[in-house]
Symmetry: C2
Subunit: 201 residues, 2 copies
């Protein structure tokens, strides 16, 4: 569009590189930023620079943190016998929100995906083995996505850890809570039946 | 979430203030930014500061520009007898993309909306009257949204301009091109019938 400010055009182009942001959304965001208070925009710009400068992977688990050890690894009350392996740091935030997990994490930084050319060597698996070998780990829960790549990665990890005498488990597949049996696909329903649990009285 | 970096949390919070960005989207964008190349993020931060510093309203029409006159107003081939009044600068980009309008624009900076406490005084209507009085304007096309506020604003502008001997017109309401008669609501269909045009042979 020749009739628009070059700066606006450049900002729109940069924003469309973000996931889920198409051209229309980028335009809407840009006009929002143009109308927004100066403070808001300069603060946003400042934060962008700050996260790139200060947020680094946790020395222990690979979670993102501003200090050497992330809040989970630094918390002495967490159960270090239990490691939950996740694809990326965002998954840690999701699991933490449940308030149900008291172990520690290990960020794999991806999953095995031959289609995208990602093999086991590109994941943080060596670090996981080292943690298992040197720590008091009893169980590794693999919480990758319930898809082909996530399952492949889980099997690979289970094989990798079995000589070390550590239990590898996979998060349960089943019906989402509040969901409707009518709307479940057959694979999920089959997994839910296979993974059935005794009703505690 | 106590277990996350404070900077990450602050960035997520700031992003959720943008239109159409909920908490999940803000998280996804934040993790994208954390993984993105340093260049991309610092460039984005730089652009945010730049637009706030350099992009200002055009002296003539109120469009956003980095120089005194926007590209449309600076273009000597545009027809200055025809002014298209729009709600905000984003609408200019939309109309320019059609390639069908060769006149100039006037940004109203909103529409009359009693519910939101926006009266005619808060719009750039005085500037519009002044342009009509001093220029060679023949017609003002009101291209506000086809809703109650947009229509109210159009009627107000028509009344305001009638003593000045300038024609005020409204963009056509009708069926969207490529749409289906079955899916049109009654009001749109009624407008489409009322606004019917002779078929040119």
């Amino acid at each position: 569009m020749a009739n628009q400010s070059k700066l606006i055009e450049r900002l729109i182009n940069e924003l469309t590189k973000m996931p889920g942001i198409g051209r229309k959304t980028a335009q809407r965001l840009t006009y929002f930023l143009l109308k927004a208070p100066d403070d808001y925009v300069s603060n946003l710009a400042h934060l962008l620079n700050e996260i790139k400068e200060h947020v680094k992977p946790c020395r222990e688990c690979g979670n993102l943190t501003e200090v050497e050890l992330c809040a989970v690894c630094a918390d002495e009350t967490r159960n270090r016998q239990l490691i939950c392996a996740v694809e990326d740091p965002a998954d840690i935030a999701l699991i933490e929100r449940t308030g149900e997990f008291n172990g520690v994490y290990h960020v794999l930084m991806g999953v095995i995906s031959p289609l995208e050319g990602i093999g086991p060597d590109q994941l943080r698996l060596g670090e996981l083995v080292k943690r298992v070998q040197t720590g008091r780990v009893v169980e590794v829960i693999v919480a990758t996505d319930p898809d082909v790549e996530g399952d492949t990665t889980a099997y690979y990890i289970a094989k990798l850890l079995s000589p070390l005498g550590v239990k590898a488990t996979r998060i349960a597949r089943g019906l989402p809570v509040g969901g409707d049996l009518d709307f479940a696909d057959e694979v999920t329903l089959a997994k839910a039946i296979a993974g059935r649990q005794e009703i505690e009285e």
